[in-house]
Amino acid sequence: MNLFRTAFLLAQKDLYSELKTKQILVTQIIFAGLVIVVFSFAFDPANNTTKAVIPGIIWVIIVFSGILGLNRSFISEQRNDTMQGLLVAPMEAASIYLGKFLANFAMILVVEIVSVPFLFLLFDFKFLGSFPYFLLVIFLGSFGFIAIGTFLAALAANSKSSEMLLPLLLFPITTPILIGVVQATKIILTNMDQFSSALAWIQLVTAYDVIFFVVCFLLIDYVLEV
């Protein structure tokens, strides 16, 4: 129980300081808006075929703005020399991970809540599929991405050029999840006839989330050693 209590405390601390500075969240949302604008240049919103790339755009936004937040989550601790403080505090490394994960996850959910409707609005996208399943896919995909992302951010924070290292570590590891999530989103948004295969993709992503979350939990002790 202590594990979760300290994790919640840590997440609260991160979110509270984020609420005060609004540094990361604002950057993430503006960046998401900019990605949408860039995509509107790349794919003409007036063209009907653009509808096909919407699921991909959603995930590009989540991944790119997610990376921005993940980069910050451990570097800010190191910059303030508070990492050692967290490590010597009477709590397990797993709860540091869990707390950071919760904070990052909360932030990416906010980014998604703002940017995805914005994307639908700007690209004039008529929502036809099942809304609860769409939310489920977004939730599962962000969960897996942030779970591994937080872990690898802790790993990359040891490097001096961690901003450059993190995407290189994160993208290959998360590709299986991203493939599954993009496929599932595509089916749910455009073609509900093939819903059974979307369910299969959701199962794949869920399995991945569970496996990697457990593995990260077990291995975080080695990453956060002094």
Binding site: I148, F151, L152, L155, N158, S159, K160, L165, L168, L169, F171, P172, I173, T175, P176, L204, I211, F212, V215, C216, L219, Y222, V223, E225, V226
Partner: protein, 253 residues
């Protein structure tokens, strides 16, 4: 991180190494590699029957599959020694993991090069966005990232620890390569061993199977030679580094 800096600058304990015995193992492995490679060439070009539709171009198959096998073996060895390192914390396990990952990357490059060459004659296209190709490519990127962790600055045991963690995480990607073939119902890669479901014309002729197995054996011996050589190089590097540290120490006095 000042503590890490101090440790980085600190004099390392002297290494104990007995190289006299290992040299002979290296020579034996070298000889075995040459002999087995020549045997493999005989089996590929003379013993094995020529494929009906692809003709001689199919011969690259033996090297393609064997390289893939070697890459997987190498990454498994990295995974194995990564776990061992996290448990035992001995530098030699880390060296094995690193060298094995390097060899794996080299042979993944060979797989990704011979693949398109073969694909051009067999499927009439260089590259197909097909699950197994993508996963092999991703595997390549994962281990490039692994090597990039090794190039980080800092003390060796921190780098070794982080790389070991990444080696374990990265290896979790390997089963997908085998899983993907059934998941996406690919039509390009035949399932060579065993009965493939819904695969027409799967299976392999006996002479080709013998040639393939001989090549795989040859590549396994080549791998153990490369691993042995690489580890002794790494050890030399570590020793030189230690001598340099000691020299610096004596100059400072």
């Amino acid at each position: 991180m000042s503590m890490n800096l101090e440790r980085e600058k600190a004099v390392l304990p002297p290494s104990q190494m007995t190289d006299t015995k290992r040299v002979s193992i290296g020579k034996v492995l070298f000889g075995a590699t040459i002999i087995s490679m020549l045997t493999a060439l005989y089996f590929i070009f003379i013993f094995a029957n020529e494929e009906k539709t692809m003709r001689a171009a199919q011969k690259i198959f033996y090297y393609h599959v064997s390289s893939a096998w070697l890459a997987f073996l190498a990454f498994f060895v990295t995974f194995f020694f990564s776990i061992l390192f996290l448990i035992k914390r001995k530098r030699i396990y880390d060296t094995y993991a690193y060298v094995s990952a390097e060899i794996g990357v080299v042979f993944t490059i060979i797989v990704l090069t011979t693949g398109p060459i073969w694909a051009r004659s067999a499927w009439n296209t260089w590259w197909v966005w097909e699950p197994r190709l993508i996963t092999t490519l991703i595997l390549f990127f994962i281990y490039i990232a692994y090597i990039m962790i090794r190039q980080m600055d800092g003390v060796w045991d921190k780098k070794a620890r982080l790389a070991a963690v990444f080696g374990i995480i990265g290896f979790a990607d390997v089963p997908i390569v085998f899983f993907a073939i059934r998941w996406w119902q690919t039509k390009f890669h035949p399932i060579v061993f065993g009965d493939g479901p819904s695969q027409k014309g799967g299976g392999i002729e006996d002479t080709m199977l013998v040639a393939l197995l001989v090549t795989i054996t040859a590549f396994t011996i080549l791998y153990s030679y490369l691993l042995h050589k690489g580890v002794s190089f790494e050890k030399m590097k570590i020793t030189v580094e230690q001598y340099k540290e000691r020299l610096r120490e004596s100059l400072d006095k």
